[in-house]
């Protein structure tokens, strides 16, 4: 989200009082204390890497949605809401809700029944070591790079908002995360994510509440936006997407429905191990199915604290905000909208709570990345390729060490980004290269017993290469944007959507073609891994209110109503 360009803004946005500092200090003390308390429980591999598989649906569900509620996302999407209006809410609704329900009701049983530790672990069971190795290696590298990007982004935000030294922010936050994750493993990461969830809600919810009081409600806000920006539509989600030219994002509704909803969101929410790992920690299969469904209700509400502040800023801020790359002295970027609104409404105490929420979001993001990295490295790279037969305690020890090593690599990445700014954009783009084709590979593997080992690997590789090729061509020559994203008006987000769509289709086509010319595995080897060969437990003796299907349908119903309201 180009947060680092915000460093060009000289004056700090807010000044903290004693009570604000006390609030921040208490948060650090509490998470460290929790980490040390949980260390005694993280003794086996299952404890350390999967939190003992004993989380309730609520804890796993909140951690699941919280792992995606990092501060980079909050600041970035609030800025996007200012820039693009309510169109940004698509990434919280069509870009999340159907995928979360699909994960809970369709895919989770396979992940859970197979007793895999990770998504690459499922690929190993279903396809063998080639597809698994490719997925594990790319995930490990990207996760740790993303952690570094998060770390640097946090340091920049702390510098811009509070005037903190960048080195101080990087080292204090990463050492804190390192200590509590190395101590308690996924237990610590999940506990911290649940705390972060509450902090973010209570730290940010006052902005829309006071903002709507100031504008006189939703109608007053819309009227002020029209007054401040005549002729522009920032408050409708689908109506401005009849053509590429009718909206500031340069996107057509097909890009949102098929690129975002059907591919990118499905890929992220169902195969990105960072979020799936939280659900794998659930104590039983019903909890594992319920966790994403519970998460979907909270995800649907997140625009209240992210998108609405961006819209309110259009209505109430006395100054205009600008793209981070075009800033001049004294101006503020889109990405600073949330801190600006925080400073507008929150005095001592509340300001500290809001800043702590941002810090917690960054730290939880780092913790999520390093805990997922530790799991994939230990179980999907170290154990199968480097040290196959070792006692469980050895792998736990490896998990603790690579948590710390991963953090130091992240710190290195953060300093690399500091010196070579453009790396940040590329690292974020790299992450997207693997998610969309991975969804094709995992889904085909779950739904069809005919798909072969070779097809899984070649499909995944072809989809990934297609994604990299499209990204490179669009960067090198803008004319390719018109080809791949169907319009030269397509902005970055729109390009991502179509890139995801074509790379997933490439993966599917190659997988099918290779399957046709290769021999499938025997059925008995695929029991518990493929839909037609897996006896799924029926929930006949459970009341309707305890059935994930009921809540999933309810979530989808609310999702549809929201689309109609904001059409």
């Amino acid at each position: 989200m180009n947060l680092l360009f915000a460093t060009y803004v000289a004056p700090r946005l807010v000044r903290l009082s004693g009570v604000d500092l006390a609030i921040i200090a208490f948060y650090f003390a509490l998470v460290l204390a929790i980490g040390f308390y949980l260390k005694r429980f993280a003794t086996t591999g299952e404890d350390f890497f999967l939190a003992g598989r004993e989380m309730t649906a609520w804890v796993a569900g909140l951690a699941f949605v919280s792992a995606n509620l990092g501060s980079l996302e909050l600041l970035g999407w609030a800025g996007s809401a200012y820039q693009y209006g309510i169109l940004a809410a698509h990434w919280y609704w069509v870009g999340a809700i159907p995928a979360m329900i699909f994960l809970g009701l369709v895919m989770m049983p396979f992940y859970y029944i197979s007793k895999t530790h990770s998504v690459p672990g499922y690929l190993k069971l279903r396809y063998g070591s080639e597809a698994s190795g490719l997925s594990a290696f790319t995930f490990a590298v990207m996760t740790i790079l993303m952690s570094g990007v998060n770390m640097y982004a946090m340091a920049v935000v702390m510098k811009v908002v509070l005037g903190c030294d960048i080195n101080f922010s990087i080292w204090v936050s990463s050492l804190t995360v390192g200590v509590y994750v190395a101590a308690g493993g996924l237990f610590s990461a999940i506990f911290n994510e649940v705390l972060q969830f509450f902090l973010i809600w209570f730290g940010a919810l006052l902005i829309p509440i006071i903002g709507l009081i100031e504008t006189g409600g939703w109608g007053g806000m819309v009227a002020r936006i029209h007054e401040n920006f005549p002729g522009q539509d920032f408050t409708h989600m689908w109506a401005p997407m009849r053509s590429f030219a009718d909206n500031p994002m340069g996107i057509h509704w097909t890009g949102i429905v098929f690129g975002l909803g059907a591919v990118q969101a499905m890929g992220y929410w169902t195969t990105d191990f960072l979020v799936v790992q939280r659900v794998l920690s659930a104590k039983d299969i019903r909890s594992a199915k319920m966790a994403p469904v519970i998460g979907s209700f909270f995800k649907m509400a997140v625009p209240l604290i992210v998108i609405l502040p961006g819209l309110l800023a259009r209505a109430v801020l006395p100054m205009h905000l600008f793209p981070a790359s075009d800033l001049q002295a004294g101006q503020h970027s889109f990405n600073e909208v949330l801190p600006l609104m925080l400073a507008r409404y929150c005095g001592p105490g509340l300001l500290g709570l809001g800043i702590t929420a941002l810090v917690a979001g960054f730290m939880a993001g780092m913790a999520g990345n390093v805990s997922a990295f530790a799991t994939v490295w230990t179980y999907d790279i170290y154990r199968p390729y480097l040290h196959k037969t070792a006692p469980d305690a050895h792998y736990v020890s490896m998990g603790r060490w690579c948590t710390l090593i991963g953090l130091f690599i992240s710190i290195g990445t953060a300093y690399l980004v500091m010196n070579f700014a453009s790396i940040m954009d590329y690292v974020q783009a790299l992450f997207g290269f693997f998610i969309a084709p991975l969804f094709g590979t995992v889904l085909l593997g779950m739904l069809s017993k005919r798909v072969t080992r070779a097809a899984g690997f070649w499909g995944l590789l072809a989809g990934t290469l297609a994604s990299i090729t499209m990204f490179t061509l669009m960067k090198v020559d803008h004319r390719w944007v018109g080809v791949f994203a169907l319009s030269p008006l397509a902005q970055g987000l729109a390009q991502d959507m179509y890139q995801a769509l074509w790379s997933c289709l490439t993966c599917v086509v190659v997988t099918v073609l290779v399957t046709l010319v290769t021999k499938p595995r025997p059925d008995q080897e695929l029991v518990g891994l493929v839909y037609s060969l897996t006896p799924l437990a029926r929930e006949e003796h459970v009341s309707v209110l305890h059935k994930p299907l009921f809540w999933g349908i309810l979530a989808l119903g609310i999702f549809v109503v929201l689309q109609i309201i904001f059409w």
Partner: protein
């Protein structure tokens, strides 16, 4: 939350966090009643009622999920 490990529920820690923050923000809000900060709509005294809300929620969570309480 945990039958196998008997871990203190995460909800208890959430309660502690909300309770402590609620107290800090509430007191801070009371102290600034006579000297409101330079923020928009400061006359709403948001820290007072927001702090009170956090205290109530935090106390409820602490009571419901306190260590040793059978669930």
């Amino acid at each position: 939350m945990s039958e196998k490990h008997h871990i203190i529920p995460v909800w208890f820690f959430v309660g502690v966090l909300l309770l402590v923050y609620g107290c800090m923000i509430f007191v801070s809000g009371l102290l600034e009643l006579s000297h409101p900060p330079n923020t928009v709509l400061a006359e709403l005294h948001a820290p007072v009622w927001w702090g009170a809300l956090l205290i109530v929620l935090g106390a409820v969570y602490c009571m419901m999920f306190r260590p040793g309480k059978s669930t």
